[in-house]
């Protein structure tokens, strides 16, 4: 599939940048002129993935978060979100709804479930001690399709 545009973004993993990352990705996705719902889905999924890098990947330190987004001719958007943090020992377990390693009760363990329900595809790779990479894919309704 032909790629029509891409962008690479690097930000320090601090919580202020969660909303910036969301805004940057919306500006990028806006090129496909998605529906309001589609854009909201993308923003939510990106938030979850970036938050995971910050709170789980780096925990008490601040490390870099790398985002690589691509747009394809068929209206598909892929977003790769990567950290160089602690990694995930058991990805299958981590992706189970309600599974969380957070002990303060602040997190519901639904981040991956949210990403999966809002995007078409979620691919996770990780190496303990090296970092984690999440690739989100969504095909947007082409203009006019759902919008009679």
């Amino acid at each position: 599939m032909k790629q029509i545009n891409e962008m690479k973004l690097q930000i320090p993993g601090k919580s202020a940048n969660e909303s910036f990352a969301r805004a940057a990705l919306s500006a990028f996705a806006a090129q496909l002129d998605p529906t309001i719902d589609e854009l909201a889905d993308i923003k939510t999924a990106v938030s979850e993935a970036v938050t995971n890098c910050i709170v789980h990947g780096y925990r008490d330190e601040i490390g870099p978060v790398y985002i690589h987004a691509k747009l394809y001719e068929d209206n598909t958007l892929t977003i790769k979100i990567r950290d160089k943090g602690c990694g995930i020992p058991d990805i299958k377990q981590a992706m189970e709804p309600l599974f969380t390693t957070c002990t303060t009760g602040e997190r519901a363990g639904l981040g991956f479930a949210v990403m999966q329900s809002f995007m078409d595809k979620v691919r996770v790779t990780s190496k303990p001690g090296k970092g984690t990479c999440v690739v989100l894919t969504k095909k947007l309704l082409s203009k006019g399709a759902g919008n009679a």
Partner: protein, 77 residues
């Protein structure tokens, strides 16, 4: 009720481009209103707060109504 439901459903499939334009115009009106009220230009946060929106969303919307940059105007106007 059918009308309302249809409106709601259609609303979900409104394209972002249109919604951004609406937000941007509302932001410019809000800016005028606050400027007149305080005799001072409001910040983006104050505008967003007045509109009940997130700062980021207002900022992105403003990008949607940017006129193509004229190479002449900025310097001489």
């Amino acid at each position: 009720i059918g009308e309302i439901r249809r409106y709601l459903r259609d609303n979900n499939s409104i394209r972002v481009s249109r919604s951004l334009r609406d937000t941007a115009y509302k932001a410019m009106q809000t800016k005028e209103m606050l400027t007149n009220l305080h005799s001072k230009e409001p910040t983006i946060e104050e505008i967003a707060e007045t509109m009940g929106m997130k700062k980021e969303d207002v900022v992105l919307a403003l990008e949607a109504i940017v006129e193509p940059v004229s190479l002449f105007e900025p310097v001489y106007s």
